[in-house]
């Protein structure tokens, strides 16, 4: 019954080597979010897609990009990972068309940069 699925759960990448994290959802929600959560810190919103419209947070580094090819999938691309990008990356979804206002989260991808 997994509703928001993130792959992989753990990702190790080399310094400067592009990496892509993926998220899929079975909820048919029109909004998808990417958060970065560093150790012992609160999740921080990087960007979100409202349908096909991309909304970037003002302080999200250019190194982070995202793609949403269809309703179900969303990708986070890190073009040149640095040591400071090591974190848990959380994908979440929500629907603006329902009375439910909550966001549903995936289990996250823990990224290690070596």
């Amino acid at each position: 019954d997994a509703m928001v699925i993130q792959n992989p759960r753990y990702q190790v990448t080399q310094f400067g080597k592009p990496v892509t994290l993926s998220c899929s959802q079975t909820l048919n929600h029109n909004v998808m979010y990417w958060y970065q959560q560093k150790s012992s810190q609160a999740p921080k919103l990087l960007f979100h897609y409202y349908d096909k419209d991309f909304n970037n947070e003002a302080d999200t580094p250019d190194n982070f990009q995202s793609r949403r090819p269809n309703t179900s999938f969303c990708f986070l691309d890190i073009r040149s990972p640095g040591l400071g990008d090591a974190a848990m990356y959380l994908c979440a979804t929500s629907s603006t068309g329902s009375m439910n206002t909550e966001a549903f989260f995936g289990q996250g991808t823990r990224l290690t940069v070596v």
Binding site: V31, L45, H48, N55, T96, F105
Partner: protein
Amino acid sequence: AQTVTQSQPEMSVQEAETVTLSCTYDTSESDYYLFWYKQPPSRQMILVIRQEAYKQQNATENRFSVNFQKAAKSFSLKISDSQLGDAAMYFCAYRSRGADGLTFGKGTHLIIQP
């Protein structure tokens, strides 16, 4: 920009006792949503309880209830009859109406003593 403050990095409570987690927030908006999310170790973030700002009545979900004080911009979570499974990181979060993402507090680590 909205901010969310959780002033208790860690709380400890005996099993079966009651504990209250504090949260304050700052916003110039009049209509918004507030949430408490639970993040167990190495597990996904799940919604505990939500509150719509336009509702005066405090939300309750079984053993979980909130004390929402809109004028004071305070949103505390009370957990009654604490259980070992309640041990987790608890995040208070704010969301504007629409598709904007969540603004999280820094979290409170809740420890349940058997």
